[in-house]
Symmetry: none
Subunit: 212 residues, 2 copies
């Protein structure tokens, strides 16, 4: 980050109030900035294609498209642009996924002002921002060699059972469909939950929505 150089930011969030807040924060932190606003997937790509952007601050909750593809497309246009994901969603679940897909930082919307300033500064100075929590998780997954996609841990039969569970079938129904005892279904369910480190159906549904 050189002094007296103009930096340009693109704030992509479907809530204008959030964009204004972020905008204010950037202006407090840096001099001579150029700030673009985008309230949708389409706008984000349009602005990114027409302007040089140093940092894209991206919410991953757009109604009109999924952010993994925004990232890929935007990166293709501007390989040097850094991306900071700024999301209300649980970083434990989403951060690694987005970092893998090309983001250089993940900032939680629940963060306080200091953390946000730290994140913005860090993005401009070092080009990245990752919380200790996420660093730990990356290390863990490297050491334990567990796949980034947790569903890969499941055996075929486990996936079969899991798919029926997320369709809303009960243990007994599944047992009948697969011609096994309901206690066996229970065992599979338990092993699925253990492997994914969850303990209820809602989380299993989340997992499948996320990773498949």
């Amino acid at each position: 980050m050189k002094p007296n150089q103009q930096y340009s930011f693109l704030i992509a969030d479907d809530h204008s109030i959030v964009r204004q807040g972020v905008s204010l924060l950037i202006k407090e932190l840096f001099f001579n900035v150029k700030i673009f606003h985008a309230g949708s997937f389409k706008e984000t790509l349009k602005i990114a294609s027409e302007n040089k952007i140093d940092l894209l601050i991206l919410d991953i909750n757009f109604p009109d498209g999924n952010s993994l593809s925004i990232m890929t497309e935007a990166k293709a246009m501007q390989p040097d642009m850094k991306i900071l994901i700024f999301s209300a969603l649980d970083e434990d679940i989403y951060a690694l996924r987005y970092l893998n897909a090309g983001a250089s930082g993940y900032l939680n919307k629940g963060s306080n002002e200091d953390e946000m300033k730290q994140a913005l500064k860090s993005m401009m100075v070092t080009g990245k921002y990752i919380t200790q929590n996420i660093k730990d998780r990356i290390l863990d997954s490297y050491i334990s060699k567990k796949p980034i996609n947790p569903l890969e841990q499941l055996s075929n039969r486990e996936v079969e059972v899991a798919r029926l569970l997320i369709k809303g079938f009960g243990n007994l129904e599944i047992a009948e469909m697969l011609n096994i005892k309901k206690s066996t279904v229970s065992t599979f369910k338990n092993r699925i939950f253990e492997k994914l480190e969850i303990d209820n159906l809602a989380d299993l549904i989340d997992f499948f929505n996320l990773y498949s």
Copy 2:
């Protein structure tokens, strides 16, 4: 709204970036204001109990409690305080419920700056803010007495229980959270399923994804 009088606002939102944005907006719109911030259910009530507040701008997505009860409790402390709900959740589903429970306005987080300013001005001048859409829906549902959205068939308590169910909590956990017996939770669950004509959690999750 008299000139030169100091008005006090309480912004209750778990995202500090949103509070900052709203704060900025208020300062642009009014002179001589006093602004309080609250990041949680507890803080909101504490501040509302210790300070005279003219307008509470309330997000309805707190991790530590449900906003219907915040409203009731806060209103009990300060009957003259106006409440503007400021939420990312679909107004079609939630607005009527909150207006019924004592809010005087419902502003969507996706609104643009003009709408937000309009809402804030309207709250201070006329004491209320309701979009044309909501007015129409009030009329429609008054005339036909049939809810457009199936989730509107659910009572407040039923929605409360449903939201906990789709987060993955079990009957007993929910019972403890709401201080009722687990059998009561069962009854609510049954009624929810009956009303929505479903019979499992996965479908309930679908319903909420679809209609909210």
